[in-house]
Subunit: 200 residues, 2 copies
């Protein structure tokens, strides 16, 4: 089956191909990006909205993901606002200095300053949508928020997230190590397991 | 496969059995009801929350649905608030006289009084969840809001909803006619089509 991926992010695309092509799926990229308003209050809903919008335009079964960091001491924030955390009201807006990722991290560390409970988890939902129906799969990676950023790999909050059982941050792990523990890796393997049982 | 249904509503249960048992699924009822807070802002999310909660408790693949009436002239309300429309702030709370259904209908007709655009649709999402993954299917039934209630069948807003192509309200249709056009009937058939292609 041909599968459209609702992303033009080369890193995500590579990860998705690596996990889904071995079960016989042909993963294709969209010829153009669509701006999808992520109005959902959950990862599942936002992944669904993205998959739905791309399916409507390209008429191909579409895979989309949404993911983020859920911090217990912040009542679940940044959550679905992970990628634009610096610009939302909660915790005060953060002036952009450096990249967006750096600004988001600075805001998160400011809000976590002096807190004892540093538990957090990365959560990912993957949705495959076509013609009024589809599949979904979730993945989670538990860990803690460090006091300061470490490591050059990955993206987003990886430099301040230490997965359970590791002494390194997500940004200090090798790509293979990250795939094995990451929320998106788990969600994609969950999806792959489900799809391998279906003849579409 | 054994399938738990996250409802103790006998009408829904019968409908679900009628559509899913022919494809070889064994549909079972929960031994007790779980109170699930429907905090989602969409039907998909609420169906997911219900399926997830029942799965966590009973450890069986669980099917849940969420549905409601979306009225264009009311900006999509009552939507996910359909069953408790009378008690929400939007449009003013409605004093309970008669049943909850009757009170909801009275509020809706009050808000629709004198409006020309009476277009609306019933929307249903069905989710089948197990162990971090699952299936979903949607169904829609387009129609219009009548000026006053008619018919004794069905439940909810059925007496004031006239499906496209019909002169009767949903509450005046026979059960078989309703199944054929209803949002839940369509969502369940979509789900059944998907499941019939999978070996779980």
């Amino acid at each position: 089956m041909k599968l459209l991926v609702a992303t033009t992010n080369p890193g995500k695309l590579k990860e998705i191909k690596r996990i889904l092509e071995p079960i016989g799926l042909e993963v294709v990229e969209p010829t153009e990006n669509i701006e999808v308003e992520e109005t959902g209050t959950t990862f599942l809903e936002n992944a669904y909205l993205k998959a739905n919008a791309y399916y409507d335009k390209f008429k191909l079964p579409t895979l989309a993901d949404d993911s983020g960091l859920v911090v217990d001491a912040l009542g679940g924030y940044p959550g679905v606002y992970s990628s634009r955390f610096h610009e939302i009201e909660f915790g005060g807006k953060e002036p952009i200095i450096g990249s967006r990722d750096e600004t988001n991290i600075r805001k998160l560390l400011r809000l976590m300053k002096g807190r004892e409970d540093r538990s957090a988890r990365f959560v990912a939902f993957v949705v495959l949508y076509f013609n009024g129906k589809g599949f979904f799969a979730e993945g989670e990676c538990k860990g803690t928020i460090t006091e300061s950023p470490r490591g050059q790999g990955g993206f987003g909050y990886d430099p301040i997230f230490k997965p359970e059982g590791f002494k390194k941050t997500m940004a200090e792990l090798s790509p293979a190590e990250k795939d094995a523990v990451s929320h998106r890796g788990k969600a994609l393997r969950n999806m792959s397991e489900l799809l391998s049982k279906c003849k579409l």
